[in-house]
Subunit: 304 residues, 4 copies
């Protein structure tokens, strides 16, 4: 079944909030998200900022110990202006270098050409006048399911439940699996970026409102610890924590478990494979919790 959902209010925490819609496993949801500041497709400020989320969506049958699978069929900017932070964040440069960055009062506006799929700085700072167009690569920065114990966790950070991971790989076509902690899973989605570098180091991607279409599926009795994902080429496991070293630990452990669960590899075989074939991608290094993605090529797994 396909649900067209028009949001009327938004959440700035991910938690066990009253669901806005109940859907069945296999259903499709078509909806939209405001940008991280609460602005919609018309540039109207319709809700308080802080990565406001559309949802939560209750998926029938999802219970603690299951996995909620989300396939993003469509993630498309629905307006032609986006904004980015103007300076690299203090926490991603050497502490003694911070004062050299200068005053933190700038931001940049970008013009999006949705036909051509490009972005262009509206008023480039000196030195970037000839930068021209960058190809869009739309993604969702913050989405996830209700965390355990009835917690409600700020959309500024991330955890086992997902949240503000700001990973470029969470683009159209990706499938993301979440551990279910609360009845119905309670999926939230928001924080669209038309484009973003690794790490979200200026504290933003090109922040924009989005049209989103996704399919949900409940994997009964499949228990995972951290988000997992799959795109055309890779299977992935996500770790969210600080320091990044701990995010590496979470992601690597979860990828070893994924290889065991889905491909029958014990940890000795998983080690032999990952040792020479693992790839790490950096998600957010701006938030309270940082994000690391560990992944391995599907083409390799298909040989086994």
């Amino acid at each position: 079944m396909i649900h067209e959902f028009e949001p009327t209010h938004f959440q700035t925490t991910i938690g066990s909030h009253e669901p806005v819609l109940r859907v069945a496993s296999g259903d499709v949801i078509r909806t939209w998200t405001v940008d991280s500041g609460g602005y919609d497709r018309h540039g109207n400020d319709i809700t308080e900022g802080g990565n406001p989320q559309t949802g939560p969506f209750y998926v029938e049958g999802a219970e603690r110990g299951d996995t909620l699978r989300v396939r993003f069929e469509r993630i498309r900017p629905n307006r032609t202006r986006g904004v980015t932070g103007g300076l690299v964040a203090p926490n991603v440069v050497d502490p003694g270098f911070v004062p050299e960055l200068g005053p933190r009062n700038s931001e940049d506006w970008w013009e999006l050409d949705l036909e051509r799929g490009t972005a262009r700085l509206h008023d480039p700072p000196p030195g970037l006048q000839s930068l021209g167009e960058l190809p869009l690569d739309p993604m969702l920065g913050c989405f996830g399911v209700a965390p355990p114990q009835g917690q409600a966790i700020s959309c500024a950070t991330s955890g086992e439940h997902g949240g503000n991971m700001d990973y470029r790989g969470f683009r159209e076509g990706v499938v993301v699996d979440f551990p279910v902690f609360a009845e119905g899973g309670l999926l939230h989605v928001g924080d669209g970026h038309a484009l973003q570098g690794d790490g979200e180091i200026v504290g933003t991607g090109i922040e924009v409102s989005m049209d989103v279409e996704l399919t949900v599926e409940v994997l009964k009795g499949k228990a995972i610890c951290w988000p997992r994902a799959e795109d055309e080429s890779f299977v992935m496991a996500v770790g969210n924590a600080r320091p990044l070293d701990q995010a590496v630990q979470h992601a690597t452990t979860e990828l070893l478990k994924l290889l065991r669960d889905d491909h029958g590899l014990d940890y000795r075989a998983g080690s032999a494979l990952l040792g020479q074939c693992i790839r790490y991608d950096v998600g957010n290094v701006f938030d309270p919790a940082y994000t690391m993605v560990a992944k391995v090529e599907k083409a390799l797994l298909e040989r086994l």
Copy 2:
């Protein structure tokens, strides 16, 4: 001038050791390296293990405050067997998961087909019997220049002087710049890997002896703080430290400085560019110091 250099002894620290050869800026050095355990092309154990280095090479004219540029023209395995660690390292998984990894007494041997450029597990652990061939991607794991203050630093770790960075991107064709701390720069090279996943998470790549050809160049009066590099597509800056968060800080700061030095971008413009375009690659997450590479596409810089 082209130097053919036959090493007779090796260093397991990078330091202000007696040079084995003096060369001029612009010269080419053709030499070879033993593997991380001290084994040569014939599989003979000719020196103590610990990433033994060929060198140091003294480059005439290099002085503190200059940059030593090294272009790797050739990095080629020169034997057909390589070895890898058998288990993911304890520090890259969750602390409570370590005992589940099992006993740490395994290793894997790989057959290299140097014609076809492939590697194959000699005796695959159960589950990987049908893995088949992996394409080689030869690189050097450990190389660098004498560190400041007459220090001699173990080839197990890394720092501003380079060292055991284990970055897959340091393959044939890459150009790496080092800050010069000691007269002559004193370049050391070693620790060849026929193939390696990100992070060197089993504590090794496919360890192998290598034939190496490189060109050195002194950039007089050009001062840098951390290694920088360039390949066909990217300019890069390298940070070596723990936690990985600090390696991110070093690499990001150095990349902002690179954009200022080489492309005239102030930190405000550098931020606007990197915010949406930076890429991070993970080097070593096994050593005492971890390695992070920050990079940006040359095609973008050419527009400016």
Copy 3:
């Protein structure tokens, strides 16, 4: 006014839950807490474990931007048995050492002599048979106020709002100040320890139910960022984060601000004082977020 409060239900998150009692600034609350596992003074398991909290208490007049001051008049174990974890936690030893710790299935019971103020292992593991009595030093491990944005945060961790800090210095007589994020402040208290080493490295102190008496006070218009505290000898600032380096940063920054706010020292003078006189105490190093306390002697401040 003095309130005698009998709790009937408990919270395992700290959040904007329905208050159990409304009190005025200056009021005294006499109540009790279950232990971390949900067991009361009679050893009855009356609620789900996970540092269940008594409260929240709504303090009239407390608003975002104020400070809520809590003075602990009394923190007394109210039963004679307590439990501790049997092994040092995997995250506080070297990763490669974890398997040497052995199986994680042990715990220890302690007999408390409330008259004499001592604890004794009920069945000491071999080697500790003659350990004898340890003096009690009762404290609360987890307490705090509702966090910002309507969040509800697990009592397993900590943040700007307090939470599971497990600091030995939070004993009878201490005064702790919290930033107010929600109307009424919403104070929660729980997780009593009859005794605890630094770091809570076995994952517990001697877990016990407690009788607690405290006084609340609203400091209108006083804005702080992190918990501050004061005991007989020291003023303190608390940082909660991982890695511990970041907790050091939070605590040191807050202590510099405390010296500015309360003692008129600019950061240059604060630096000159703290440089030679600061003390750091380690709170929890077991939780998702670690705790560091920065402090300075009141006797020094009284000279200024």
Copy 4:
């Protein structure tokens, strides 16, 4: 035998340098150290700065796998002026707070009254005019033995060999044990502080030249991994690393091993004891490597 040693040159790395004196196990060495900047008792700048070390002292019979025990009989400032950094270091405050600290061009001079054992700011910054005298607590910030593999490691940092640990507890009367990595152990001493807060957070203690008397002893066949120490009240183990979390891991692991080696406690019993009785002290949080000390009361161990 008592050696009176007059240094004529100094080392700014700790390494396998040519010994300045050979002594026997049990011998006493009376010598002096310059301050961290290379200034002697007369305030003369006699050597390059960077924590210059007196030594190394070769102790007959010390070999890899032994322990070198050093008892500090005397650590006394030998001049009446000392200097301290003027601002808290950027790495110990929140990244975004760094610019608020102001310009980093200040330092403070202190007058030492060696009779009374006190220090007084020469020209107190505004707000500290009435601070008056602080009691001296002289200590050595940087000392250690030659590290493994012939390394020479900067006196700005620390490791298994000791080095720049800046721990207040390394004062007169302390006994410090080092793992021996090189023949003769090769003890270096320097970097005296007349007084220092925890963490050395302004990058200095009160830097001063010192008269030092110490006794060396070789513990044949006793192998340790990290420095251990003992004072009147505590036995201790030291971890040096970043992040501080890793220093916690090193120190805690080493203290568990110390309890096993010297007191016959297996890790289960060691855990039961340390869980409720361990204390952590913070050494340096300014250097490339941070220092954490884990300790337990000797009075408790004497009961066993």
